[in-house]
């Protein structure tokens, strides 16, 4: 039997970077094949080459025994190659069925297509309403639309680019059922991920990439996470070290009855949110994005002042109506979710970016900038936090995601804050840098500061937090100690089912 897809020595170079270096892999019909690698290993580039969205510089692709000569997305669709993008390729202003109509050939018959969409979505257990606007759908629903769109084409090869990054554990389990059903029908799957547990649960074979090269192939079900990680990272996974949490007697950050109204129909209003964060501990807020995290963080950081001052207290002071600068003077530090644009000014030097929040440390006198002090401060952060960049004169946008994040986190920690709020600390950061950032947060909390982490990565929250809260539809759950809970329970809370932990959850990911 011919392989469904065979890649021979595919290479792709961008100025200064080799994204793919002589990559070869082969997928049989009905096989679920993982492409494993850290962020920046070249996985997404390779998938885009397979789909034809970008062209390879060298190499050959063979599909069902026939070489593909002139490639492009249209060729892919004719061959039966479909792709679910990491960042969805959906149009928000039009309905589900119109989105799907854009990808199917044949007459423009929305009514007939709606029927087909319903049929396929029922067959694979992916409920969607074809007439809703994509704008009104949650991320999980959008992903279902993408998958149904691919399934309508009867694909022979389905590419999924990190499909689980936005899903709850229950939704992931559901997705895996669908994917196994597809594979059993003979469809080949290319599954891109950096999550080892998922790959072990789902995939038959794996190709591991590091720095654009294939570093090995494996059968994940027979391998161990340590072996796979070594192929991915090139070294053993770094572990974080926890000291014992000794918490302060009084909360450093306290939220009491915080309410906001949604500023438009797409926003979320916060409903009576109350929680405390004590010095010496890390508290995590879990939740699927779009459930009020952005609104909560904006209230806490001071971007959105609250209606009354006493709903947020910082070291006992009512700060609800203070602006962000005022709160920072009282000892608050904040690492926003968007690194470029909010956390750092993209075209500015690192020393200028360090000064944005570090100016309180004597870098400005009588309104004049002390360049020397700013440069020294930036260089100091770069050294301490292991930031790889071309000196303090490198512009923020030239750094990789992981290095910029280390710089921003370092800049905030060096302020010696009483309270640090961090949103998505390791989003898009490679494994090594992520471990570094996590350790830095733990160390800060153990030195007596209160740390609040908002993240969608459950594994991360379980790794670093002492207590966990879950936000869903603008409401927050009671806090649970990390030691007393597990991924299943938090996952259920994330979907809004306020199930007590005694109810046995069904169908999780096997670990």
């Amino acid at each position: 039997m011919n392989p469904r897809l065979e890649l021979r020595d595919i290479s792709k170079r961008y100025p200064g970077v080799v994204a793919n270096d002589q990559v070869s892999l082969s997928v049989m019909p009905g096989e679920i094949h993982a492409v494993l690698g850290e962020n920046g290993a070249g996985k997404s580039t390779l998938m885009k080459i397979i789909y034809g969205a970008i062209g390879a510089d060298e190499g050959e692709m063979v599909f069902d025994g026939t070489p593909i000569a002139a490639h492009g997305p249209a060729v892919s669709r004719a061959l039966g190659i479909e792709m679910v993008y990491q960042h969805f390729a959906l149009f928000e202003s039009v309905s589900v069925v119109e989105n799907i109509a854009l990808c199917v050939s044949g007459p423009f018959d929305l009514a007939g297509l709606s029927v087909q969409v319903r049929d396929v979505s029922e067959k694979y257990g992916l409920p969607i309403d074809p007439h809703r606007l994509v704008h009104d759908l949650s991320v999980g629903e959008r992903q279902r639309v993408e998958i149904v769109r691919c399934l309508l084409q009867d694909p022979k090869l389905l590419i999924l680019d990190e499909p689980t990054s936005v899903l709850t554990p229950q939704a992931v389990a559901k997705l895996f059922e669908t994917l196994r059903q597809l594979a059993s029908e003979g469809c080949s799957l290319l599954y891109i991920s950096h999550k080892l547990d998922e790959v072990q649960a789902l995939c038959d074979t794996a190709t591991v990439l590091r720095n654009g090269r294939v570093t090995g192939t494996a059968e994940p079900k027979k391998s161990t996470p340590t072996k796979l990680a070594r192929m991915m990272v090139g070294a053993d996974l770094p572990e974080t070290h926890h000291g014992k949490a000794i918490t302060s007697g009084k909360p450093k950050l306290s939220v009491k009855g915080l309410m906001t109204s949604a500023d438009d129909q797409f926003g979320i209003g916060l409903k009576n949110i109350s929680f405390d964060v004590f010095g010496g501990e890390i508290v995590g807020i879990a939740g699927v994005s779009g459930n009020g995290q952005a609104e909560l963080v904006s209230c806490l950081s001071g971007e959105t002042p609250t209606k009354t001052a006493h709903v947020i207290t910082l070291d006992g002071a009512d700060v609800g109506q203070m602006d962000a600068g005022h709160r920072r003077r009282l000892g608050l530090a904040f690492v926003p979710e968007e690194r470029l644009g909010r956390g750092a000014v993209p075209p500015h030097h690192l020393s200028d970016n360090a000064m944005l929040t570090g100016h309180r440390l004597g870098m400005v006198k009588n309104g004049m900038i002390n360049r020397g002090a700013a440069n020294a401060y930036a260089s100091d952060i770069m050294q301490k936090y292991n930031v790889k960049a071309n000196g303090h004169e490198a512009v923020a946008s030239s750094l990789s995601g992981g290095n910029l994040q280390k710089f921003i986190v370092g800049r905030e920690i060096e302020l010696a804050p009483h309270v640090l709020i961090v949103s998505q600390p390791t989003w898009g950061v490679d494994v090594g840098a992520a471990a570094f950032v996590r350790q830095a947060l733990i160390d800060l909390s153990r030195s007596g500061a209160a740390v609040l982490v908002v993240s969608e990565e459950l594994d991360e929250l379980f790794e670093i937090c002492d207590r966990l809260l879950v936000i869903c539809q603008g409401e927050i759950s009671p806090s649970v100690d990390r030691a007393d809970t597990d991924v299943e329970e938090i996952g259920l809370l994330m979907t809004g089912l306020n199930t007590p932990s005694s109810v046995a959850p069904s169908g999780g990911i096997s670990r």
Binding site: K48, A53, I54, G55, G72, P73, A74, R77, Y85, A89, L90, F91, E92, S93, V94, E98, A101, L102, C103, F108, L133, H135, D264, Q265, F266
Partner: protein, 306 residues
């Protein structure tokens, strides 16, 4: 002709050039391209229309040539903005200035020379209906064409697959490219269409409204069309309504001036602008409505990933 009939028909006629130009621009903007050069394309259309008629060719051919000239003028913008990825604001402004100059050059030989105007179309029976006949069935063919094009454009944008593609390219050209649509080619076609529509709007002014060529005779109608599209929240029916509102207020304030209203003429002249903006802003203030109709990628240069 009584006063009401005069105001009503005056409104429809005054609105026609705006309807052509603004509907064309609406389709262009729906695809995510902002062409600020409408004024220039209208002037080129107006001058070429008169020129073709002046050398003795029939009016329908003059109108067709005006549309083609508008499309050719838009190509200047298209090449700059779509192929060379110039800033769209700058390219559009350049076209506005370029069109003004080129039209003045074209019109050198026949400036202010009256030509035969486009005559109202007499429709058997319909034009003779008392009251309704003079109100609804006593216009030149271009007025009817503007209504037909309004219907066609609305149908095209919201009922056909091609229209869906244009709208989605305006939302996310990257996603459209990723699923295999030739974004730049489609945008070129749309820009050419917008140019032809602006050319028609210009020809209406110089062939039907005031049948002669005068330098800069559009007097800002291109800019008004541009504003109409924005204030109409990119919906064809609202563009139509806005154009009528503007046309109607123009005619009313002229009547007011003729009747010797005790307001300074400057105040009266500014009324159409104020009224149109106020009314369209009020009807378009629903944020969700705006969010869903605004072409998200408007004026952003697009380069396909390689």
């Amino acid at each position: 002709m009584d006063l009401f009939t005069a105001i009503f028909t005056g409104t429809i006629i005054a609105a026609t050039p705006l309807i052509f130009a603004a509907l064309g621009e609406l389709v262009v903007e729906k695809s995510g391209v902002l062409n600020l050069g409408i004024e220039g394309m209208m002037l080129v259309g107006a001058a070429v229309g008169v020129w073709v008629s002046y050398v003795g060719l029939p009016l329908p051919l003059a109108i067709l040539c005006a549309a083609v000239a508008g499309a050719l003028a838009s190509l200047v913008f298209g090449v700059l903005a779509l192929t060379f990825l110039t800033n769209q604001y700058a390219a559009g402004l350049a076209l506005a200035i370029f069109g003004t100059g080129v039209s003045a050059y074209i019109g050198k030989g026949f400036g202010s020379t009256p030509i035969d105007a486009l005559k109202p179309l007499v429709i058997p029976f319909l034009t003779d209906i008392p009251v309704l006949g003079p109100l609804l069935f006593n216009y030149d063919p271009l007025v009817y064409l503007s209504f037909i094009l309004f219907g066609l454009i609305s149908w095209f944008l919201y009922k056909t697959k091609a229209g869906l593609i244009v709208r989605t390219i305006g939302e996310s050209p990257d996603a459209a490219h990723a699923i295999g649509y030739p974004v730049i080619k489609i945008r070129y076609l749309v820009v050419l269409f917008g140019g032809a529509m602006a050319g028609l709007g210009g020809a209406y002014l110089s062939i039907a409204y005031t049948p002669l060529w005068v330098e800069n005779m559009t007097a800002g109608k291109g800019w008004i069309s541009l504003a109409l599209v924005v204030f109409a929240a990119w919906r064809p029916a609202r563009v139509l309504f806005g154009a009528w509102l503007f046309g109607g207020m123009t005619i009313l304030q002229l009547q007011g001036q003729a009747l010797g209203l005790a307001l300074p003429s400057e105040v009266l002249s500014s009324l159409p602008y104020i009224a149109t903006i106020v009314v369209l802003v009020i009807i378009s203030r629903n944020r969700q409505f705006l969010a869903l109709n605004f072409p998200t990628s408007l004026a952003k240069p697009f380069r396909p990933a390689r």
